[in-house]
């Protein structure tokens, strides 16, 4: 059975949510069997989930049963839902029971708090290897989907549980959404070792969130940079959480100062701090920085996860073998997904990547083989003939003004810096001018109400005017 699910005792607890529901491994297996008979074999379904036990049961149950869920946010904007629905025409849609009445489809069954409905659309022919689909962006509902295969699930589960040294005693706290690749991979890797996933949809500022961590004795916390900004503001360091021994971070670069703060806190309090790197195109985690290097090599993504390989290529596609030389980072491993889907017909496509992907990230490695991401390929401008990294500029600004929100975009004519704080307008410009030694007119600072971001906290540059 997929993910070793048949290996664990029937009454071993697979997941607990903050609403007090519980799911055993026996129930997961039974539900997987049931899901096989709820729909014709290999049915395409839209699965709109919340972070609760039912969301996990329906996701894992259907993947095991051979149905192919597109996992989406239950609170996805209606317009975005409609565009996806029209494009992919799923024969089945499953949503939380509480919102089922909003849909005009024929109800099939309700269990674990979710209602399965039949839309009337015909069966969708799909590739045999296709296991599940995820949106490329959690919140914008882009019609571009990532096509995963069964082998990706197994590989991600094995790799991740290996380097985190997960065991059945682990009780990871899951705040990341189930429809987000890193959240889903937490479920995969922990089910693979028979652990108990503690899943919640509570706000981290909610008293009950902290009650849940304490009462359920969470052993690890996985977050994106933004989650740690919240923990930082919540005075996490002053909380007494003896069971929590592992903090892991992914989902983009974390500001150096904050990264160090957590690394040092963990070192001083007998906890592990592990920064990771990944992409949804590779079933989440691709690289990790062992905690022994958390401080010394802060900002590094470390090396490839087990059973995988990172490499660099130069502009001409030749492999780079000398340390401290920048190139595009490439990845080889069984967790590399099959490719994208942009239409219903694309679900028939086979593996287009064959375990290899160019990440689109510019990086170098040091003498120990630890990788450092410099920026996104293409996130560069040429101002007065000088190559200027937009990500680097953001780091300069955030380094000088900790906590300041900013986003840099632009053309080779001019860089645009978006800020939300009017009072820093001139200071930011001065800082860039003095650090980059460019004329002030190369920069234009614009003030906006909010920097557009996805739910993982990554800036949505496409939403900002670049000239």
């Amino acid at each position: 059975m997929i993910l070793n699910l048949d290996k664990w005792k029937k009454d071993a607890v697979a997941a607990i949510d903050s609403q007090g529901q519980q799911l055993t491994y026996g129930e997961v297996r039974d539900f997987a069997e049931k899901a096989e008979h709820l729909m014709p074999a290999r049915s395409l379904m839209f699965l709109l989930v919340e972070n609760n036990v039912g969301g996990i049961a329906w996701t894992i149950g259907n993947i095991c049963a051979g149905n192919v869920p597109l996992i989406l946010n239950a609170h996805l904007d209606e317009g975005l839902y409609n565009s996806l629905y029209d494009l992919y025409q799923p024969p089945f849609v499953c949503v939380p029971e509480a919102v089922a009445d909003k849909y005009d489809y024929e109800k099939v069954i309700t269990c674990y708090g979710y209602t399965l409905m039949k839309t009337g659309h015909g069966a969708c022919p799909m590739n045999n290897e296709l296991s599940h689909l995820l949106p490329t962006s959690g919140s914008t509902g882009s019609p571009k989907l990532v096509r995963h295969k069964y082998e990706n699930i197994e590989a991600a589960a094995l790799n991740i549980s290996t380097f985190f040294e997960l065991t059945e005693k682990d009780r990871p706290l899951m705040v990341l959404p189930l429809y987000y690749t890193m959240g889903l991979s937490m479920v995969f890797s922990h089910f693979y070792v028979g652990a108990t996933v503690l899943i919640t949809n509570l706000n981290m500022t909610d008293r009950n969130f902290w009650k849940f961590i304490k009462e359920e004795r969470a052993t690890s916390f996985t977050g994106v940079p933004y989650s740690f900004e919240i923990l930082n503001m919540m005075r996490f360091y002053r909380m007494d959480l003896p069971d929590l021994t592992l903090l892991t971070q992914g989902g983009g670069r974390m500001p150096k100062e904050l990264n160090l703060k957590f690394a040092e806190y963990c070192r001083d309090n007998g906890k592990q701090w592990i920064a990771t790197y990944g992409q949804s195109e590779c079933t989440a985690r691709m690289a990790w920085l062992p905690s022994k290097w958390a401080i010394e090599k802060v900002g590094s993504i470390g090396h490839a996860v087990p059973n995988a390989e990172l490499s660099l290529i130069d502009m001409d596609g030749n492999s780079i073998t000398t340390p401290n030389t920048e190139g595009e980072m490439c990845y080889r491993g069984k967790n590399v997904t099959m490719g994208y889907a942009r239409s219903r017909e694309d679900l028939l496509l086979g593996d287009e990547r064959h375990g290899f992907i160019r990440t689109g990230d510019l990086a170098y490695f040091d003498e120990d083989g630890c990788y450092y991401i410099v920026g996104r390929m293409g996130r560069f401008l040429k101002l007065f003939g000088m190559r200027v990294g937009l990500d680097e500029c953001e780091r300069i600004i955030k380094g000088k003004f900790p906590g300041l929100e900013c986003a840099c975009v632009g053309t080779d004519e001019k860089m645009l810096v978006y800020l939300t704080d009017e009072s820093k307008k001139e200071l930011v410009k001065e800082e860039l001018v003095s650090r980059l030694k460019l004329v002030a007119s190369s920069f234009e600072v614009r003030i906006i109400a909010e920097i557009p971001k996805n739910e993982a906290g990554k800036t949505l540059y496409a939403k900002l005017e670049n000239k």
């Binding site: 008293r207 503001m233 919540m234």
Partner: protein, 79 residues
């Protein structure tokens, strides 16, 4: 500036609220935008304005206009 004025200003800054809309019912249950980001921004405003540092417990409790005043009283900020 009086404490009340400073207190109100924080809500104006964080929520873009109008002073005349602020009352004891103003809070997490009545204000749609009130999420963890807004709550923490409010905390940051208060800490800066009143030069204090909240305990985690109090940060979690900061869920309405009325509660905020109660909590600030513990830090000797009175209205």
């Amino acid at each position: 500036m009086e404490n009340l004025e400073k207190y109100n200003n924080a809500f104006v800054e964080v929520f873009g609220a109008k002073v005349e809309d602020l009352n004891d019912n103003y809070g997490k249950d009545t204000v749609e935008e009130w999420d963890s980001v807004h709550q923490l921004s409010l905390i940051a405003q208060f800490e800066e304005t009143f030069d204090i540092m909240f305990d985690p417990e109090d940060i979690m409790e900061m869920t309405s206009y009325a509660k905020g005043k109660e909590i600030l009283a513990k830090y000797d900020v009175t209205f």
